[in-house]
C-alpha cells in the first residue's frame, strides 16, 4: 500500500527527517494562498501515485502569484497517466547543490533488508540500478539486530557522499531504516535528498510503501491508505471486495483461484487466440458470496464479452463455488455474458451437480473451458 507524498513527508517529518515547508491544497484558491504564505519560488506537485510526475506535467515550479494560479489551474483536475489529480502539495523550492538517493527495501533474494545510498539522486533510480549498478552503495541489515550506526556510516562513505554532510545523511538513513522497521515498510525512499549550499540535508520527495499484510498493526497508516486509494471504478470495487484484480485490454473475463493458476488461464486464453480482459484471483477458501462478487465485478467491465471460471479446489470447495455462481446468475432474467465453468479438486463433483446448466456452460478440462470461452468472445465480436 502506497502513501501519497504529502502523507509520507508527514511521517518522515514526525520522525525528525528535515522536509521543506509545505501545504496541501484541493482548490486553486487554496494553492495560491499556500504559495503566498510559503513564499516564492514554490513547487506545485500533483499528489497521485505516478512515477515521472515532473515530465508528465504534474510538477511545476512557480515564482509569482500569477504563475501559481496558472499552474494550480493546470494541475488540479488534470488526468495524469490515467489518474485524476484532486490534491496538490504546495512546497518551498529548495536551493540545492547536490541531490542524493537514500532508500531502504527488502532484498527478497537475500531475505534481508538492504539500505541504499547513491550520489546519483534526483533521477530515476531504477535506471541507475540497471545502467550503473556500482553507483548505488548497498548494505544488508540483519533483521535480528536492526541497523547499527556504523552500517549507516559505512554505506554513506561508500557512496562517496561529501564528508561535510556524511553524518547528517547517515542520521537520515538511520531514521529511515527505523521507520521502515517500525511501520512495516516495503520500500521507503527519499529521492532526492537535497544538500543545500549551507550543508543542510532536506527530503524533497518521500516514498513510503507499506506491507499490506501488516496493516492490522499499523492503524494510523491504514487510515492514511484509505485516503490514498485511487484507480478506476473497477479497481476501487476490487479493493472493496478484497480481490487481487488487474484490468487488461482484451475481452475474455477470467476468474480463478490462486495467482499461478489464474495467470496460467490468462496465458491459455492468449494461446488459444483470445485476449484476456482481466486477472481476478478470488483467493483461497472462497465462499459463495465471494464468488458472486467476482462475477459481479467482471460483468461490470463493459469490455468483457465472455467469462471463464477456472477453479481447482484445494482449500476452496467446488460446491461453494457452484452455489456462488448460481446465486449470482439467478438474479438475471437474461445472463449478460456467457459464462464457462471448469471445476476440479475438492468437492468438484458435488459442485458440477449443483451448477445450473441452463445458466452456464460446463467444461471438464482447463483447455476445453478456455477454448469455449474464447469462441464465445469471438461470436460476440463477429
Amino acid at each position: 500500500m502506497r502513501l501519497h507524498e504529502y502523507q509520507a513527508k508527514q511521517v518522515f517529518a514526525d520522525a525528525g527527517i528535515p522536509t521543506p515547508a509545505s501545504q496541501l491544497a484541493e482548490t486553486v484558491d487554496e494553492a495560491v494562498d499556500a504559495a503566498e504564505e510559503i513564499g516564492y519560488p514554490v513547487a506545485i506537485k500533483a499528489q497521485v501515485h505516478v512515477g515521472g510526475r515532473g515530465k508528465a506535467g504534474g510538477i511545476k515550479l512557480v515564482e509569482s502569484r500569477e504563475e501559481a494560479r496558472e499552474a494550480a489551474e493546470d494541475i488540479i483536475g488534470m488526468d495524469l497517466k490515467g489518474y485524476h489529480v484532486s490534491k496538490v502539495l504546495v512546497e518551498e523550492a529548495v536551493d540545492f547543490v547536490n541531490e542524493l538517493y537514500v532508500g531502504v527495501t527488502m532484498d527478497r533474494g537475500e531475505g534481508r533488508p538492504v539500505a541504499m545510498v547513491s550520489t546519483k539522486g534526483g533521477v530515476n533510480i531504477e535506471e541507475v540500478a540497471e545502467e550503473d549498478p556500482d553507483a548505488i552503495a548497498r548494505e544488508h541489515i540483519d533483521p535480528a539486530f536492526g541497523m547499527h550506526p556504523f552500517q549507516a556510516r559505512k554505506v554513506v562513505y561508500e557512496a562517496g557522499v561529501d564528508r561535510e554532510v556524511a553524518n547528517d545523511v547517515a542520521s537520515v538513513l538511520t531514521t529511515l531504516y527505523q521507520l521502515w522497521d517500525d511501520r512495516d515498510g516495503a520500500d521507503t525512499e527519499i529521492n532526492p535528498l537535497m544538500i543545500t549550499g549551507d550543508d543542510e540535508v532536506i527530503a524533497a520527495d518521500a516514498v513510503m510503501n507499506i506491507d499490506g499484510d501488516a496493516l492490522f498493526r499499523q492503524p494510523e497508516i491504514a487510515e492514511m491508505g484509505e485516503e490514498a486509494a485511487e484507480g478506476d471504478e473497477l479497481e476501487q470495487k476490487a479493493d472493496e471486495y478484497g480481490f487481487d484484480y488487474v484490468r487488461l485490454d482484451g475481452n475474455v473475463g477470467i476468474i480463478g483461484n490462486g495467482a499461478g493458476l489464474v495467470m496460467t488461464t490468462l496465458d491459455l486464453v492468449d494461446y488459444y487466440g483470445g485476449e484476456p480482459a482481466n486477472f481476478l484471483d478470488v483467493g483461497g477458501g472462497a465462499k459463495a458470496d465471494r464468488i458472486a462478487n467476482a462475477l459481479d465485478m467482471v460483468f461490470s467491465d463493459d469490455n468483457v464479452d465472455s467469462v471463464v471460471f477456472n477453479i481447482f479446489g484445494g482449500i476452496t470447495r467446488g460446491d461453494e463455488v457452484a452455489n456462488g455462481i448460481n446465486q449470482a446468475l439467478e438474479q438475471f432474467d437474461e445472463i449478460p455474458k456467457p459464462v464457462t465453468v471448469r471445476l476440479a479438486g475438492t468437492n468438484a463433483e458435488e459442485g458440477m451437480e449443483i451448477l445450473n446448466e441452463d445458466l452456464v456452460t460446463v467444461e471438464h478440462t482447463l483447455e476445453d473451458a478456455v477454448q469455449r470461452a474464447v469462441e464465445y468472445a469471438k461470436e460476440v465480436e463477429a
Binding site: 527488502m106 531504477e126 533483521p143 487481487d244 495467470m263 490468462l266 486477472f279 483461497g284
Partner: protein, 290 residues
C-alpha cells in the same frame, strides 16, 4: 522413496483448534498422515479429531515424538508460531500454510532458519505430499498418485493442475512440494531440487514457476550445473503486462527484462529443461523424459 515426508513423519498441527486447522487435520488423518498432536497455547489437554492438544510445540514433540509441524495459525501470530516450531527440539520439518504473514516477520524467521538444520516449507503454500503415504497441508489428496516424478511449484492451484495432467495419463509422483509465492520463503526451488536430485526414486522433476523475482533463473543454472535427474518446466504469466502485480507478492514484472516469463523460459531451456506452453504439454515433456 520420497523427500521430506515419509511413513516416519509424525505431525504436530499448530492452530489445530481453528476452523482451517481442524478441517485439514481431519483431511490429513483421512489421507493416512500420522497426525500425533496439536499445539495451541491455552488449549493443552483438549482433543481435536481424536488428536491430543498441547500448549506448546515442545511438549507435543516430547510427549508424542512429533518430528514435523504444520502451521495453520492466523497471520498475525504465524511468524511467532514458525519461531516456536524452529525452536522445538526434534522438529525437522515445518510446513507453514498461512497466507498473509507480514514480510518483516518472515525476514526474522528466515534469519532464525539459517541457524538451524530444520527445513521450512512456505509460508503461503499448499504443503508437501508423498502420495499414498502422507500429506502435510491442504492439497487435495485424491488427485495425486504414487510414482517417480517429483514436483516443485510456487503456486498451489497450479500444482494441482499439473498433477492432474500427470495423474490422468498414469504418471505418479514421488513427492510434490508447494514452496509458496511469498517474497521470503524457506525451501526455494534449489532447496527442493537438491532433495529430488539426491532421491534415487525420483526419476524426473517438474518445476512450475511464475513471473517475478529471479529464483527460476537461479534454479535453471543449478539444474544445468548440478542435476542428472531430468527436469521439465512451466512458467505462468507470459501474458502479464509489465509493472502490474498479479496476486503473489513475487508475481510482478519489473519491465526491465529480468523476472519476465521470457527470461525464465530462456534460462530453463538454455539449461536443458523443456518448458511446456500448457500444463498438458508439460505432461508430454515428462513422458518423454521418463
Amino acid at each position: 522413496m520420497s523427500v521430506l515426508v515419509d511413513e516416519d513423519t509424525r505431525v504436530v498441527v499448530q492452530g489445530i483448534t481453528g476452523g482451517e486447522g481442524k478441517f485439514h487435520t481431519e483431511q490429513m488423518l483421512e489421507y493416512g498422515t500420522n497426525v500425533v498432536a496439536g499445539a495451541v497455547p491455552g488449549r493443552g489437554g483438549q482433543e481435536v479429531a481424536g488428536v491430543p492438544v498441547y500448549d506448546t510445540v515442545q511438549q507435543a514433540a516430547r510427549e508424542e515424538d512429533a518430528n514435523a509441524a504444520v502451521v495453520f495459525v492466523p497471520p498475525a501470530f504465524a511468524g511467532d508460531a514458525c519461531f516456536e516450531a524452529l525452536d522445538a527440539r526434534g522438529i525437522d520439518l515445518v510446513v507453514a500454510i498461512t497466507e498473509g504473514i507480514p514480510t518483516q516477520d518472515m525476514a526474522r524467521v528466515y534469519r532464525k532458519l539459517q541457524e538451524t538444520d530444520t527445513h521450512l516449507v512456505g509460508p503461503n503454500c499448499p504443503g508437501v505430499i508423498t502420495p499414498g503415504v502422507a500429506k502435510l497441508g491442504i492439497l487435495p489428496g485424491n488427485i495425486f498418485s504414487s510414482g517417480n516424478v517429483g514436483l516443485v511449484s510456487r503456486s498451489g492451484t497450479l500444482t494441482y493442475q499439473v498433477v492432474d495432467n500427470l495423474t490422468n495419463r498414469g504418471i505418479g509422483q514421488s513427492t510434490a512440494i508447494g514452496i509458496g509465492g511469498d517474497p521470503i520463503i524457506g525451501t526455494d526451488f534449489i532447496g527442493a531440487l537438491e532433495q529430488f536430485e539426491a532421491d534415487p526414486d525420483t526419476h524426473a522433476v517438474v518445476m512450475c514457476g511464475e513471473i517475478g523475482g529471479e529464483d527460476e533463473e537461479e534454479a535453471a543454472r543449478y539444474i544445468g550445473e548440478h542435476m542428472d535427474t531430468p527436469v521439465a518446466g512451466f512458467i505462468a504469466g507470459r501474458t502479464a503486462p509489465p509493472g502490474k502485480r498479479m496476486g503473489h507478492a513475487g508475481a510482478i514484472v519489473s519491465g526491465s527484462g529480468t523476472g519476465t516469463a521470457e527470461s525464465k523460459i530462456n534460462a530453463l531451456e538454455n539449461n536443458g529443461v523443456p518448458v511446456g506452453d500448457t500444463p498438458e504439454e508439460v505432461a508430454d515433456h515428462v513422458e518423454d523424459l521418463l
